[in-house]
Amino acid sequence: MTDRTYGTRLPGMPSEPLTGKLVVIEGADGSGRTTEVALLKEWLEVQGHAVVDTGLRRSDLVSAEIDRAKQGHTLGATTMALLYSVDFADQLENKIVPALTAGSTVLADRYVYTLMARAVVRGASREWARELYGFALRPDVVVFLDARPEILLHRAIAKYGSLDYWESGMDLCLSRDLFESFFLYQEKLSHEFDWLAAEYGFQRIDANRAPEQVHADVQRRLAPLYGAEPSPPSTPDGAGRPPVSRGRRKAASA
């Protein structure tokens, strides 16, 4: 069962083949990830595919502990990286694998790459981060929404009116100034994502554009996977819809 993971055996995996498709959308906060996931889900469902959506920090197992740790800022970098890995492993085994076994498409709003990048900018080695997530399933496609830090800043302010402590990497003590820290942190992450994109074969998409343009681009990249034609541009009705989800969903920032 190591053929579908990044090399580490996952004990207790079902023997049935995983017939579903694993589609990952990666990108920073403000890259339009959540909007794109919602559009993509709609598009796939219209075509008749069952879609299960997943993201970071949504497992029942440790999300409360992660929230608590983020409030208190008391955990060390290694501890925090490992706590996130528990959350991911739980979702992988209890949600992603069963859905793929049932033939569904799993649409992941962020995946191990974000967790790896965050761990590495906080001092972990790339080797360690890659090995840690060696048990992760290889996605069928990883779409990377690449947006400039100025765009990310603009969208964060437009949406929340301020910058988030963690998304600005304030725990790294790069600067006492939130804005300066934000840019320094995003630069470090972006450097890490460049490496990850090459290492894991991301489909990089220019996310400095409007959601419809990004979506059309993503559709083109996914079409071969489903043997489908990209649909015409979204109707005004569908384009601006808020994210739709069956399960409970949390704020996308993790």
């Binding site: 580490t8 996952l10 004990p11 207790g12 197992l61 501890t79 890995s85 090995e131």
Partner: protein, 232 residues
């Protein structure tokens, strides 16, 4: 293939590790050794790796929902160990203490291997933990630990008995089988990880005397300080 060994630490303190099955007598020995070192004037910090509140609450929740798997179980303990390491082990080690650890990463190596996790993967995850200056492995037959456990009226817990592996429906039988797996794994890595094997079927006094003698050379050039700290 022998698994990768942990990296050496370059700190001024020394790391002394006690490993062995539950009921092997290692905690008693660690406590006695700590007292002795402290009475000799060394700066000592003793710490034990039992499940913290963070881990126990997650394990309780996971058990109730049947969610824990070998992988999440392993990562959860790695999280707990990292927290202990970053907070409890590394600071005194850097500050030049003799750090006495009742259980260390090796506990995870044997337990996770017994649950079927990839040993190389587990070792890589724990590679942030440096190689101890001494690892005492308290070797004892599983039957002896079982008798001690029953005599002290300790309850057997579900995961300690490996009940999640479905080895047996009977708690005692499962405990015995799981602990035998752990022992086999300890015995296997004893050589590659350069454990100092201690025959723990002997008297407490005899074992303690052996430990003190064994540590002589390591302590010869180690500076003394003034107080003992215990990580209650």
């Amino acid at each position: 293939m022998p698994e990768a060994s942990l990296p050496a630490h370059g700190y001024s303190g020394r790391l002394l590790v006690f490993e062995g099955l539950d009921g092997s007598g290692k905690s008693t020995q660690a406590m006695l050794l700590g007292k002795w070192l402290s009475s000799r004037g060394y700066r000592v910090f003793t710490t034990e790796w039992n499940s913290s509140e963070l881990v126990s609450s997650v394990i309780r929740r996971g058990k109730k929902k049947g969610l824990l798997t070998p992988t999440t179980f392993s990562l959860l303990h790695a999280t707990d160990f990292a927290d202990r390491f970053e907070r409890r082990i590394l600071p005194p080690l850097r500050a030049g203490y003799l750090v006495v650890c009742d259980r260390y990463a090796f506990t995870a190596f044997v337990r996770d291997a017994a649950r079927g996790c990839d040993p190389d993967w587990v070792r890589t995850i724990y590679s942030f933990a440096p190689r101890p200056d001494r690892v005492f492995y308290f070797r004892v037959p599983v039957q002896v630990t079982l008798k001690r456990k029953i005599a002290s009226r300790q309850k057997m817990n579900y995961y300690e008995a490996g009940m999640d592996l479905g080895l047996s429906d009977d708690l005692h039988e499962s405990y015995e089988r799981f602990q035998s797996r752990l022992k086999a794994e300890y015995d296997r890595i004893a050589e590659t990880d350069r454990f100092t094997v201690v025959d723990s079927t002997r008297s407490v006094e005899a074992i303690q005397a052996e430990l003190r003698e064994n540590l002589g050379p390591l302590l010869d050039h180690f500076p003394t300080g003034e107080r003992m700290v215990h990580d209650g």
